[in-house]
Symmetry: C2
Subunit: 165 residues, 2 copies
């Protein structure tokens, strides 16, 4: 592979704008965690909103495997950007965020504040957002791999996404 | 958590049928691998077809980070089943497969056979299936976590999916 040119393009404003759009428009994503039993990758669907500070925000239940995994090890990965029903799914833009989860516990003032914000994005979460097994996880982004389609790969920083690292 | 009842339901034929449908209908999925640099989870989109033996099959490029990761460590996780654009994304059924990747290399007879099969599912892959940096990865399923929506979680076996483990 020594002679293979890097597939990563130089970051430009179009790449930053696409990445910010994927982050802003995401309503769900695929979360990768480490299974605490054996360290294997484990991918699940989570609902996603954008927290007031711009970071990805999710509401998760203690009954879900990903919550136990994040409690044991907050290092995770989040894939955002969904293909449509038609065409080659690999031509649709998506972004992989390398993250650490930070929890906001049920019953705290911080939870109440995030609750109102989250319900504006996900009004149907009203059905379960009051259950005591739920908590919020804010995902602190450390790296971002943007794939805008074949030959359009970029390695972005939190700052490129408008985020503090 | 000692008094929390298990959220996993007893497997029934409806659960098996739903899981088999998710596997048969998937055209893409979210693949979780371990980043060979630091072991962190890393989730990317892959195109998916069902191999002749029923297992998930994907066509991946040596230029993609997931391919290097799978070459270093074939243990991976695949999330299948996509929400629609409306409603609570967590009410849509999905399945997480715990897998090991097995490769079929470009230029082999086995590759030629899978090529014809794969193109029937993904005709637009004709554009790149001949490139020498591509290989097939068949995902051998060891475990399956089905989530049919809130309160509908099942732990399935490869046999429940009609697969050899």
């Amino acid at each position: 592979m020594a002679n293979t040119p890097s597939p990563i393009r130089e970051t430009d404003d179009d790449a930053r704008a696409l990445a910010r759009r994927l982050l802003a428009e995401a309503r769900f994503g695929a979360l990768g965690v480490r299974d605490p039993r054996n360290g294997a990758p484990h991918v699940t669907r989570i609902a996603v909103a954008q927290a007031p500070d711009g970071r990805p925000l999710t509401l998760i239940s203690a009954l879900s495997s990903h919550t136990a995994a994040l409690r044991a090890d907050p290092v995770c990965s989040l894939l955002l950007g969904e293909p449509g029903a038609r065409g080659d799914p690999l031509t649709h833009p998506r972004i992989t965020l390398g993250c650490r989860a930070a929890f906001t516990e049920h019953g705290t003032d911080a939870y109440s504040k995030l609750r109102e914000h989250y319900l504006r994005c996900h009004p149907k979460a009203q059905l379960y957002i009051g259950f005591s097994d739920f908590c919020f996880a804010t995902l602190r982004v450390g790296s971002a791999d943007l794939n805008g389609g074949f030959g359009k790969a970029y390695a972005l920083t939190p700052a490129d996404l408008g985020l503090r690292s």
